[in-house]
Point group: none
Chain length 224, copies 4
């Protein structure tokens, strides 16, 4: 294989060995794993360099410093969940279906992106210093609360839901019910022998549906 062959081949595959975007992406993916596995203090730049197949100077060139890379990884975690939320297109669904879809999506996202919960835990342990500096960008802000607001109104109007529910509280409730058992799987296993496996999460999914819809149900049926 001659040099010009290699050049052509690379061209065809659109994978030049020197590609800033590709390199930065590889670093970011590696950072997401490393930071979520070890937290900002425990994460090692060396490990990220190796895992990404790039090098430390590239990391510093693209992301400034460890804090900058951590901020990028945290932002990425939020971008992913925001993208998932957008795909849901909740407002096109009937109220009860919309709530159900959000419940299912929340569980599915937490399960399939293990770094999401871990990044959030780390960031909160840090006191939220970083999220505050990046939260003002529209990419991180969620439109979900507005959508939930509309859904709750529609549900209240047609008698499906009781009124007076604050959408952000509803969102937090749904998140809470899945977040804790997944986030705390290890301590729950060790202390209570509670195994967080697929079957258990499926049972929990049904319980959460029941609990959330029960919570939203008109007062007639609420406990005194």
């Amino acid at each position: 294989m001659t040099a010009s062959d290699r050049t052509r081949a690379r061209h065809l595959a659109r994978r030049p060995r020197r590609d800033a975007e590709r390199t930065a992406r590889a670093i970011l993916d590696a950072a997401l794993v490393e930071f979520s596995d070890h937290g900002p203090a425990g994460a090692r730049i060396d490990a990220i360099a190796e895992r990404s197949g790039s090098s430390k100077p590239m990391i510093y060139s693209y992301f400034g410093d460890k804090e900058g890379l951590y901020a990028a990884a945290l932002r990425e975690a939020y971008l992913q969940i925001r993208a998932g939320e957008r795909e849901l297109d909740l407002v096109s669904l009937a109220p009860r279906q919309a709530i159900g879809a959000l419940v299912d999506f929340t569980l599915e996202h937490y399960r399939s992106r293990p770094w999401f919960i871990r990044m959030l835990n780390s960031e909160n342990l840090r006191g939220g210093a970083t999220i505050r500096t990046i939260a003002d960008t529209g990419e991180i802000q969620s439109s979900l609360i507005d959508e939930l607001d509309e859904i709750l109104r529609r549900g209240a109007a047609d008698g499906t839901f009781r009124s007076g529910i604050r959408p952000v509280e509803l969102y937090i409730t749904i998140a809470s019910l899945f977040y804790f058992p997944i986030s705390n799987a290890h301590t729950l296993q060790a202390v209570f022998g509670y195994e967080v496996d697929d079957a258990g999460l499926e049972r929990r999914r049904r319980d959460v549906h029941r609990m959330v819809l029960g919570f939203l149900a008109p007062d007639a049926c609420a406990p005194r």
Copy 2:
């Protein structure tokens, strides 16, 4: 040499035994704060030595190494919540009252011991390596699940609750609903503008009562 002789001797020698206990206790308290503030990776032995008013060699002499100190701090966090649970004496209450008391206690404990949630988060981020090594001691195991089991049975028997509720699931549900908003206060504030203050937690407390009791209520009233 009699016991009282020893006591007097200790007094003369500035009671070394009691000083040792006091020193170890001071170190443990400082460790709990430092570890919960910065996590196991971010915590600094120097900081603990200074905060405890003791010295680094003392720490190593009493606790072996950083991991040993961390394990002791984690154990301490569990001892505290177990002591609180015991004081509740749930089994002496009527079923609905018992559940209500557990809900209130859970919120109150999370609020008044900020290190509890932080230690659990850190430990789960670490993969639970440490809790697995200390969870087999009775001090950490909770009798709460057994008590809840009895309460749920009594409630089912007298028609207050539906049957088929697993006590550990109930416990996790209650924990979840308070754990997440407190643990994630910083990100919730930054991303949703949701302020986790006393008023908000009080509202949430009432919602959790409603939700949990609704969840336990006999099927007649459950949402379809």
Copy 3:
């Protein structure tokens, strides 16, 4: 291919030769500033590339390595003072006027080329490794000493100066008297509150005239 052909060709190709010269010149100017500002150890190739509007590979292509660029910058500093000295044309002046002109020139050069003193300081801190490798070229050697020699002879012959003055000592004396206060302006300001400003240097210029001419004056007038 004739010379004019080449010229035309260069024009068509956006005159590469002249651009190359211009690029090298821009790099050299930037290097002079960067090296004199930060010394050979503190100077950054990145900074020189940016300041010159060129790029790092260009620097390496034209100057070999950092040491080569430093040598070129040091040489440039000497070329500038040699050019100034030549313009003086001391030998065409009367002895006292010649000395006076050299005094004035020395001060003026030090003031207007701040990098000159800084480059010399850096090079001497390095032990003169580089100047020794380039000092043998005629461009750096000064003809000033020979000229001073002739002037001193003429002055001694006509009774203006005493004899026995070594021209290099005279040169060093004049340089010394301006070099130190300008080179050490910062420490003098901080430690003695001595401000090296235009007025002060003008006063000093007159003192140096007096001192140097006094030093050269026939013994009759020398202090006992």
Copy 4:
């Protein structure tokens, strides 16, 4: 040799292996050499650790960081010259003798403490950032200017000196005349073939005496 023998021996020699003061002093001495040899940018903490027989963590523990160590070394250079100045006890001498003693001391100090000139050069190349932060301490401020002032007054009163001489200018003049040839020995050697050796400096010492006293002499003898 038993352990207790070693303990006793150490006691007698007053050289405990763990002696903060001794360690800090060794580090400072090593730093003075390293910083004066390579400047703040070129100096290596590793080299200082090795040369001092101590270790990097000790350096950081005692001096904070590289900048702190550099500041301490710079301060030390000034402390040494101030101590020398105090020993001179200039005010106890007759005016001409006092000036002569200062001239001799200045040369001698520059020659015997090669790091002094080098530290000052480095600091001025840096823009004096550090000296400004430490110059306000009395240890660095010199009382020499005040003493010179008194000497010049006495000399003017008894007709030895002309009046109107500013003491700081006199001080700078003396310093200048020795500083430059020693500071710039390498470039002077390379460019002018001027060798700065003992004989040359001795000649120069006599010239400086003549020049300075000539400069101070009453106007009768000054050049027009």
